[in-house]
Symmetry: D2
Subunit: 367 residues, 4 copies
């Protein structure tokens, strides 16, 4: 575990939904110290309490209330080594690049750089090994960067499903096909997000771009980093065994917690039994926990035995939402095994992932 110095951090997009969550989590962090808050020009110059429309169930941390919000420019973040980005996708791209260029370690929740061939897309409980791409990312800059880099985390619905999938691949070898059907919480859409008239007494069977993200991101995350003939590293997109992913995404009237029905087919024949799957999920531990990242959950995957669990309202806050819940592991008449996943979309699905990624980078000595 990281035993040493405190590290100053900043938050980009500090007044938004994800930004608020970053602040709530970082204000109680053992070694990250909230130093600078950045938001749009409209908010800059105001005390945080006046700039934000705070929507968390915990009140604004006292230390943050009167901090003056800055613009999202690197020169305003002097003194920070790390910035966490909760920026909206329409502005995140160039701002995050500017911070990287100024030698900040950028941990982003935005989608903008997820498909960048030199930017790792890291779900901290799955593919910490992808940090190996950082060196190449720095070297590509002119002049090469010494400390700056960007790491993104995955879409909230992707995160929930890749954790059990990684556990299964680790135990039983490659997965060949995966069908996912999601029931996603309204908080996944930010604020104001989903109009209430669209979702009270209703389901919306469509979330723009979400299915494509899940089908693509899953391959990048579960795939490896291999070296091409020219010596350059590439994300192999699960090349050792083609993986077909089909996602169907729905919005449901739930505040927090994405529930996902998953069915998988393994390459290996015969496939593992439901009991073997349960044990493999239960036994899975992440590098983040092994390396003592303080925000990593003890139980990466909590496996429920009751027939009707996990449920978002009852299970989303287990371990502060930092792990995932799995239940109803059983045989699938079409593929091999089906089960239900519940992941807290605003914790492990968003801010918590970025923070554990940063903890991993510190523990690995990259920061």
């Amino acid at each position: 575990m990281h035993e040493g110095r405190k590290i100053n951090v900043g938050v980009l997009g500090a007044t938004g939904t994800v930004g608020q969550r970053f602040i709530a989590l970082l204000s109680e962090h053992p070694f990250f110290v909230l130093h600078t808050l950045g938001a749009s020009q409209r908010s800059a110059g105001k005390p945080y309490i006046s700039a934000v429309n705070w929507k968390q169930t915990k009140y604004i941390p006292a230390a943050v209330r009167e901090m003056v919000v800055q613009e999202c420019r690197p020169e305003c973040f002097r003194g920070c080594e790390i910035v966490f980005s909760g920026l909206d996708a329409d502005v995140a791209g160039p701002i995050e690049e500017a911070f990287r260029k100024s030698e900040f370690a950028v941990f982003s929740n935005a989608k903008n750089h997820r498909r960048d061939p030199n930017v790792p897309l890291i779900v901290p409980l799955v593919n910490a090994s992808h940090f190996s791409m950082i060196q190449q990312q720095r070297a590509l800059h002119n002049p090469p960067l010494h400390k700056g880099f960007i790491v993104t985390n995955a879409n909230c619905s992707t995160t929930g499903v890749v954790i059990p999938l990684a556990a299964l691949e680790k135990a039983f070898g490659p997965i060949e096909s995966c069908m996912i059907m999601t029931m996603q919480a309204i908080s996944g859409a930010g604020y104001p997000g989903v109009p209430s008239l669209d979702i009270v007494d209703n389901v919306v069977p469509y979330i723009g771009g979400e299915e494509e993200k899940m089908e693509w991101e899953t391959l990048k995350i579960l795939g490896g980093v291999t070296e091409g003939e020219d010596g350059r590293k590439v994300f192999d997109m699960h090349a050792r065994q083609p993986l077909r992913v089909s996602a169907q995404c729905n919005r449901v009237p739930v505040i927090e917690g994405h529930t996902e029905c998953v069915s998988v087919r393994f390459a290996r024949r015969p496939p593992p039994s439901p009991q073997q799957v349960r044990e493999a999920l239960q036994a899975y531990t992440s590098d983040a926990w092994t390396m003592s990242c303080p925000s990593a959950p003890r139980h990466t995957i909590f496996v429920h035995e009751e027939a009707d669990r996990p449920q978002p309202r009852l299970d989303r806050d287990y371990q502060s939402g930092a792990g995932v819940n799995v239940g109803r592991v059983r045989q699938c008449p079409v593929l091999d095994i089906k089960f239900v996943v519940l992941a807290n979309n605003v914790a492990i699905g968003a801010a918590t992932s970025s923070i554990v990624n940063a903890e991993l980078a510190v523990c690995k000595g990259i920061i």
Copy 2:
């Protein structure tokens, strides 16, 4: 179309959720005349208005308010030719049999006789041909029945999905595999049914027995009626081509309307395109419509073009809930084609199905 005489009908379980719906529909029917209402001993002898805890958005039909509730015994239903059963499964079995034995045509929404090898399980927009089993069902009685029989309709979640599946098999030949994920309305559980503490801000990823029902009923409904070597008719359970069905059932905070994410693989290679599928669904017409059953929908399947439809709140009442809605027809990376179905669980998924079944029986001269 049936042009002739009025037919007196009764309702078993008249005070329950499905019974109330039967009453609302039958009170406006062109040729069925509500004649007798039956319920438990506790309700018998009371005027309907005093016996029922009416929970429909339309008020109790005036003609029914003061009707005296009877016990569910055949001798109390003299004057009726047809009874509709909205009885609970714990009492439906023997009561429905007693009415059959007394030469009533019984149309049941209960699950008790669905697996009976001589009782048709009919979704009226799909397998009206299964009425051919009635003769054998009557003949098996000792002495043989002249008029009595039982016909059941399917579970509400099964009904929604077999209608588009039937349309696809008609157009493109056998389906080989089918994955279904449901988001089911609370009204599917009756009243009092789902406690509010279990479903507000929540999803329950389990409905007892529901997945098994969907996986089994689909085969009986989509299969044919064939003749064994002994001359006896049997339901072949889709024997011409084995069909694997996998269902994952969830309860969501929606009042009415089951939404289902479906993915299918066809036997035929190459499979039809999404556009061909859309056209086949749109073009599908039911025998019930062709035979002018008054409660059958003009559009058996309404195919939505908008990306975010169908939605339960907006689309469940189209055609009084007598048809089904399909949307988001697109390719599936794992199977062939995926789409979203919305069916009104209390209309086509329950009472409306029984009534159209009875209309079919009348039009076919079985009654």
Copy 3:
């Protein structure tokens, strides 16, 4: 009843929430004929189907789908005699005035002219007599108008409560004090309106400006029209007996239907009994019904006997939402009598009111 000619009408703000409701109602009207749809410049020139994000449970009327949306300028509405305004308050003021000046009869759901001393604020089941102000309104223009005028209807929460209050004053004389606590549906805020994160599993005990509107509008509506010394007519704001109104407004997770807890104190001592109040409410009939306005409800006020009614989900659609529901009439230990009101905020609380107002104007020969 109006027996004669068809009258062409237009809708301003046709793509908005209230506009959609106007269209749904007018498309089935016996003598108003939908002739022109107006919306913002962004929508103008498009077929209605492309301009609107239709959110009604009934589908877009066939005749309207391809109508080309116009700008909200009088010259685009030639051929119409009446325009219904569902415009937002930030633009409604001058647009409605321009139509009046061009000799249109304007029936507005917007708040802009409600406080105008020459514009009647008419709840059609209450104060049809206020049409007497139209002549003065026209005469004030230079040159005087022949046909043009503006009539507004009330805020949706005001409408629900003034109807039973009017019935009580008619039967028992002036009310002295009135306490109102509302539980208002999300549809009252339009679309996108209330963010779902604000209202799922929540109550918001504040609606900006709503309490002031209720406290003020009630006085204008329940008050009379008197003549000043200079011969000019004025709304007397219930001057014959000062009426104190206190409103507390809340938003609750209900789609449609405002529920209001009301308590009143009468000037008259002793006050009427609950039974007398019930009878007076039940017996109240509106001028709109007496004059056979086709959209007026037979039961202006439906009085429920069951202890737990009215409820928005079960009762909001009674009489297509054109009347109001009252229940739980009982003594109040602090004032005299308390009761619960339910009014459909998008029907009698909005579009239906404007339409009945227009029907009244036709029946009274003002149009």
Copy 4:
């Protein structure tokens, strides 16, 4: 503060909704030690984990999972000094009396003994002084009790409102009239409680017996204990100044947290200003806090400044739900001052109140 020994406690009705909450709170208590769990015969003999249908968002405390459930008879609770009763009203009466007779201190959440003239009805942040009745309650037994007594806490909706009322009476003298309109959470009805079909997209403007409880309990709690001519103590029901209370109770689709709109008229003329009221509420401190009861909240009343607060979802967990939230303090045109109260019905409104009452009894040396 109590500095000494641990005290063994038991829970009656341990498997119910309130019982579960007692267990969650007591398992982390500084000096109460969970020793015995009692429930119905059906549960007795089973390990708690098997007997309970646990519905809390925190998992079952490890120490409790395997505790064997006992019957609710005093002999099964040897070793306990205190029992907390979460029993249903249909059984609570005689069981609680049996425990009192066996010299247990009984802290009950049930309504059965609230109207008993010798049983204090104590909201711990309001009327700790009513413990003075215990001596008389014990003496009335034959033979007199040494340790046994019953103390009840109030109905969840009463609790929310009497706390600010007590603060106002302390600062400004007697209140003369009080109008209360509640929007109560579904958890107030226990489990299974409110059927979801009754409350999704709905409001139920009636809760059986609730209004009478609020109107009566408020008087007992806010009144004093006076001595009659015969030397016997009596609860004076606010006799120094008659207080009229009118309650209107509604159920809304909220999981936890009762929101109440309150308006009061003071005896004193002129009444205090809204600002004076705000300050008095803010400044109010309870005996429970002064005496260092560990479960008492630092802020008895948290006064919100934002126009749209308190809201149940955002504010119910402040101070673990042990205090109350007040907002929107403003003038009332009919009475004097109106405001909004939010109280957590399962914390300060139920289990937390019983526990603080027990802490008070310990601190006062009654136990």
